[in-house]
């Protein structure tokens, strides 16, 4: 009962080292290390766990600049079998609508998949829209915020989904798009052997034409949304800091804080 699994991964700037150009209010991307979207690591690990339980083959798909091949190599060094990079000037500037169109095209191109895994969201765009978007383009069912992939049968799978008030148990028909949260897995580190393999393995690079995509649906021109302004949020908070040094200051500080909290809760 081998499963064909696709994991969608995005290369993102490491948000820990994102710097702002204070004058222009834009993000400085130069020199910022690029990493695999940390929330996609949970999807990668979930895929590896599935292969360990059921057998099968995992392909990681990424859309991005040529450099994004590094993200695929990292996934392979963790144990993913194959990588495919969608790279074409036609993709540049795509919003989630256009991105999910391109990724759906690649998934169709790869053919015959049982489970498509995505991260909950990418830490740069922070939308979480691409997973459900892929499902819509492919007309597949989708389960989001999945915290456990319990079992996979021939034609169905059983999942747990984390929502605001608790956990739902779901059954879904295959093929299905699943977006996962951190609870789903505990990502492993790349191994030395994996790293060696990742260096050697051939990663095909596909263009819009290879995928027979409609270019009017891609890139900036194919994207319904436009970013019109970016600003650095002003921190307007004035912090009142009270320091506890002894009984008296403890009493004062907690008294002031209790009053502040009670006032705020009103």
């Amino acid at each position: 009962m081998e499963k064909r699994i696709i994991v969608c991964i995005k290369q993102t700037p490491d948000t820990r080292s994102v710097k702002m150009d204070e004058a222009t209010g834009t993000v400085i991307r130069e020199g910022v290390p690029a990493i695999v979207n940390p929330l996609d690591l949970y999807a990668i690990e979930a895929a590896l766990n599935l292969r360990e339980s059921y057998g099968g083959e995992i392909t990681a798909v990424s859309m991005g600049p040529a450099k994004a091949i590094e993200a695929l190599r990292e996934a392979i060094s963790m144990g993913i079998d194959n990588g495919v990079l969608l790279c074409d000037g036609a993709f540049a500037g795509s919003d989630t609508w256009a991105t999910s169109y391109a990724l759906a095209g690649a998934i169709k191109h790869l053919g015959g998949v049982d489970i498509i895994l995505c991260g909950e969201r990418a830490t740069d765009g922070d939308t979480g829209q691409v997973g459900p978007g892929i499902a819509a383009w492919l007309d597949l069912p989708v389960a989001t915020y999945v915290s456990t992939i319990e079992t996979i049968e021939k034609k169905t799978c059983r999942l747990r989904r984390c929502v605001e008030t608790g956990y739902e148990t779901l059954t879904a028909k295959l093929p299905v798009v699943v977006t996962v949260v951190k609870e789903v897995s505990n990502p492993r580190l790349p191994t030395l052997r994996g790293k060696q393999r990742a260096r050697q393995v051939d990663i095909p690079i596909l263009t819009a034409d290879d995928l027979k995509l409609d270019k009017s649906k891609l890139g900036l021109q194919g994207s319904p949304t436009r970013v019109v302004k970016i600003v650095k949020p002003k921190i307007t908070r004035k912090t009142t800091l009270l320091t506890v040094k002894n009984e008296a200051t403890l009493d004062q500080a907690t008294g002031a804080l209790a009053a502040f909290i009670t006032e705020t809760c009103k």
């Binding site: 702002m20 999910s100 979480g128 691409v130 436009r226 019109v228 912090t239």
Partner: protein
């Protein structure tokens, strides 16, 4: 009559959720700016008639209801079928939903099918005067920036709005409106995903819904010390949240986690105790209205965000604080 501003009202077990009324607050403003009617959409089974009327009392001019067994719980396929029907019939100019697990699943799915643009997790919505386009403002890159986005050429302009980023709309006296029940062909209500069971969070944690959150970090040192935090939370009627370190150590379960790889919250009051305020934690809570922190390290990053902070040992400060609050 077509066009207008529409909101997706969310129900749980037949009762409308608070986020629905927050969306009305947003919708009322936008509909006024656009001088157009405000609609509300409800999917469910046996939704209380009083609640439907409440949408009108609180600002909706018309309420469109799909009431059917398969709509009792959210499933993306039948909900999308109904949403697409509303879009086709009424051609909304603007369609907004909560940035909840429901809204953040349904809206992107529908946006593709409707060939519409969608902006996630907005904290600000406005109309651009010259063009009448919707201006959607949202935090991005872990809250490092605020981006304003518009959808110039596609309709509806769709957005999800972060819960708690606005107060719910109050009732207004003497409002009238229309409640319209629509039917959907049974075959379009089928779903390839089925909900088999539900397990509610044990201590009723619903961080998304909480006005006040007491968040605990590694400073608490061990799980055995958590009752102190719960005592404070109880005194304030607050939900308990946690940093990732607390969850990874197994002191609290994952639904408590706030931050980049946990939940994003915007409560009225966020009380961080023994939390250092790393960039990944802040990504999940910086839009809280008021932030308070207790930490023994005066240099802790969380103080940079706080309205009020106490530099001190939480094991001294919290018991004293509980006592003050209780009296």
């Amino acid at each position: 009559m077509t066009g207008g501003v529409w909101i997706l009202a969310e129900q749980l077990a037949g009762r409308l959720q608070r986020v629905s009324f927050e969306l009305l607050t947003r919708g009322i403003k936008l509909a006024r700016q656009r001088a157009c009617p405000l609609g509300a959409i409800v999917f469910g089974q046996g939704v209380a008639a009083n609640d439907l009327q409440a949408l009108i009392d609180c600002g909706a001019d018309r309420v469109v209801v799909f009431d059917a067994g398969p709509l009792e719980h959210f499933q993306v396929e039948p909900y999308a079928a109904c949403m697409l029907e509303v879009i086709e019939r009424y051609q909304p100019e603007i369609l907004i939903a909560g940035a909840t697990t429901l809204g953040r699943t349904l809206m992107p799915y529908v946006a593709i099918k409707a060939n519409a643009g969608l902006t996630a997790d907005c904290t600000g919505l406005d109309i651009e005067p010259q063009t009448n386009n919707l201006l959607q403002t949202r935090p991005a890159i872990g809250g490092n920036i605020m981006a304003t986005i518009k959808t110039p050429n596609h309709r509806p302009q769709m957005a999800t709005v972060r819960p708690h980023s606005t107060p719910p709309a109050p009732r207004q006296a003497g409002r009238t409106g229309e409640i319209i029940k629509l039917d959907m062909a049974f075959e379009r209500l089928t779903s390839r995903v089925q909900r088999e069971a539900f397990e509610a969070n044990p201590d009723k944690i619903n961080l998304a819904d909480a006005d006040v959150i007491v968040a605990v970090g590694r400073g608490i040192k061990k799980a055995q010390n958590l009752p102190l935090i719960y005592e404070l939370a109880e005194a304030l009627g607050a939900a308990v949240g946690a940093s990732r370190d607390v969850v990874d150590r197994g002191w609290l379960s994952y639904p408590h986690q706030i931050g980049l790889s946990g939940q994003t919250v915007s409560p009225q009051l966020y009380i961080a105790i023994g939390v250092s305020g790393t960039i990944q934690h802040i990504a999940g809570m910086q839009t809280a209205k008021t932030i308070v922190a207790i930490n023994r390290d005066p240099e802790a990053n969380i103080f940079k965000l706080a309205d009020m902070g106490i530099v001190g040992d939480l094991f001294e400060v919290v018991p004293a604080l509980i006592e003050k609050i209780k009296t």
